[in-house]
């Protein structure tokens, strides 16, 4: 009888290239994932804890300030409403006009034997007034006076209308003009 040799060692099957690659990659990926998880988790824990205390202290300051402001609510109310009304007044005054200067100018046109019977002024500076003069010479002087006022840029766009000779010899007419805006300040 011949001797038979039996090979008890099972020959190793060679892994495929994909399996070999996977055997290298997968452990690396798992270790890296684990390390990253640990780093990120503890980093966020540390950040949250340190900022939580700062956040609470800022919130505490906000609460204290709100209480302090709440105690001064009356003053705040008085101030806010006062300022709102003053702002409204400011707007009103900006559009308002003073008429005393223009009326003084018109009143000062009165002369001997020439009088301003009436005057109408509006806030746009449109002026009209009724004049009575006792003779034409005085009327001429009056017109020269108005022209002087125009040269001084107090009046402009002057127009004379409705010149009437009354029964008693007086001359009456209406003057329309535009006043300088400075006369309404």
């Amino acid at each position: 009888m011949g001797n038979h040799s039996v090979n008890l060692i099972i020959p190793k099957k060679d892994d495929s290239a994909g399996i070999k690659k996977a055997k290298v990659i997968m452990p690396v990926v798992s270790v890296v994932a684990l390390i990253l998880f640990i780093i990120f988790y503890f980093a966020t824990l540390l950040f949250n804890n340190s900022n939580r205390s700062e956040f609470l202290s800022v919130k505490n300051e906000a609460d204290i300030l709100e209480k302090k402001i709440g105690v001064q609510k009356n003053t705040e109310g008085l101030y806010t409403v006062s300022l709102a009304k003053v702002t409204a007044l400011d707007g009103i005054l900006e559009n308002s006009r003073k008429f005393s200067h223009i009326l003084s100018e018109i009143n000062n046109l009165n002369r001997d034997q020439l009088s301003i019977r009436s005057a109408v002024v509006d806030n746009l500076g449109n002026v009209s007034f009724a004049v009575i003069a006792s003779d034409s010479g005085i009327l001429d002087d009056f017109v020269s006076l108005l022209q002087t006022k125009e040269d001084q840029k107090l009046f402009s766009q002057m127009l004379a209308k409705g010149i009437i000779r009354e029964k008693n010899g007086d001359y009456s007419l209406n003057i329309l003009l535009k006043s300088n805006p400075s006369l309404l300040q």
């Binding site: 996977a22 055997k23 997968m26 452990p27 990926v29 798992s30 994932a33 684990l34 990120f40 988790y41 966020t44 950040f47 949250n48 900022n51 700062e54 956040f55 800022v58 919130k59 906000a62 709100e66 302090k68 402001i69 709440g70 001064q72 009356n74 003053t75 705040e76 109310g77 008085l78 101030y79 806010t80 409403v81 006062s82 300022l83 709102a84 009304k85 003053v86 702002t87 409204a88 007044l89 400011d90 707007g91 009103i92 900006e94 559009n95 006009r97 003073k98 008429f99 005393s100 009326l103 018109i106 009143n107 301003i116 019977r117 009436s118 005057a119 109408v120 002024v121 509006d122 806030n123």
Partner: protein, 244 residues
């Protein structure tokens, strides 16, 4: 004999894959359960901290402004502001304004016309003044007096010493030597106070120089307090007993 499926040998053969897969699965699970909520909390803290810091800085500014205000000054000046620009149409104060002006300027008020218009102060049909949040009350005034007294009267209307009235146009007539008549078409105003102040961190508006000057002018108004007015018992009256 049926061969049993040998799990152990498969695990032994692929133990590296199994362990790595378990680690990755655990990491994914823990990330979902712990890491992502932690990140969310971090983001919330950052966002809320930024919002809270802005709020605190607004509150600090407001607190500093409020602390610097003289509350006594505003308690004194507020009723005077209401005199100049009341909260409602208050026709009574228009009459008392004209009475005061009669006394102080020497003019005689011959006639006043107010347009009552919409009686309700809260009506939406009220007309606002130009460039202002105040509402208008149209009116016309007929007055008589000397030239100087009428000019003083006209200046006093918007001098911030009495209820403010502005003039749209006027008619000046010579009645007799030294006596003139005046017809004014103008507007009085009122301004209802706001019903709410705004939230606690709403910033306070600041006064500019022109507004400070308006406030100081109004503050000079002399108000007669109830204590200073003569008590009924102090007013001199006639004899109470005809036989004394």
């Amino acid at each position: 004999m049926k061969k049993k499926f040998d799990y152990l040998s498969i695990i032994r053969e692929y133990e590296l894959f199994v362990i790595s897969g378990v680690i990755i699965a655990v990491v994914i699970l823990f990330s979902l359960v712990f890491l992502i909520p932690s990140f969310t909390q971090t983001q919330q803290i950052i966002d809320q901290k930024s919002v809270l810091s802005d709020r605190v800085s607004r509150l600090r500014k407001k607190d500093a402004t409020l602390s610097s205000l003289d509350s006594d000054y505003y308690k004194t000046v507020f009723p005077k502001i209401n005199q100049v620009l009341p909260e409602d149409k208050d026709f009574g104060s228009l009459f008392s304004t004209l009475d005061t002006l009669e006394k102080t300027t020497g003019v005689s008020i011959v006639r006043t016309d107010f347009q009552l218009g919409v009686i309700s102060t809260n009506s939406g049909r009220l007309v606002r003044a130009q460039n202002s949040q105040a509402y208008v009350v149209p009116l016309s005034i007929d007055a008589m007096g000397s030239a100087n007294s009428l000019l003083t009267f006209i200046d006093a209307l918007n001098s911030l010493t009495v209820r403010i009235i502005t003039i749209k146009d006027l008619n000046w007539v010579a009645k007799s030597p030294g006596i003139f008549g005046l017809t004014i078409n103008g507007q009085a105003y009122f301004y209802p106070s706001p019903l709410t102040l705004g939230s606690v961190d709403t910033p306070l508006p600041q006064l500019n120089e022109k507004q400070k000057s308006i406030l100081d002018t109004i503050n000079k108004i002399q108000t007669v307090s109830a204590d200073e007015e003569a008590a009924p018992g102090q007013v001199v009256v006639g004899k109470r007993n005809l036989f004394e």
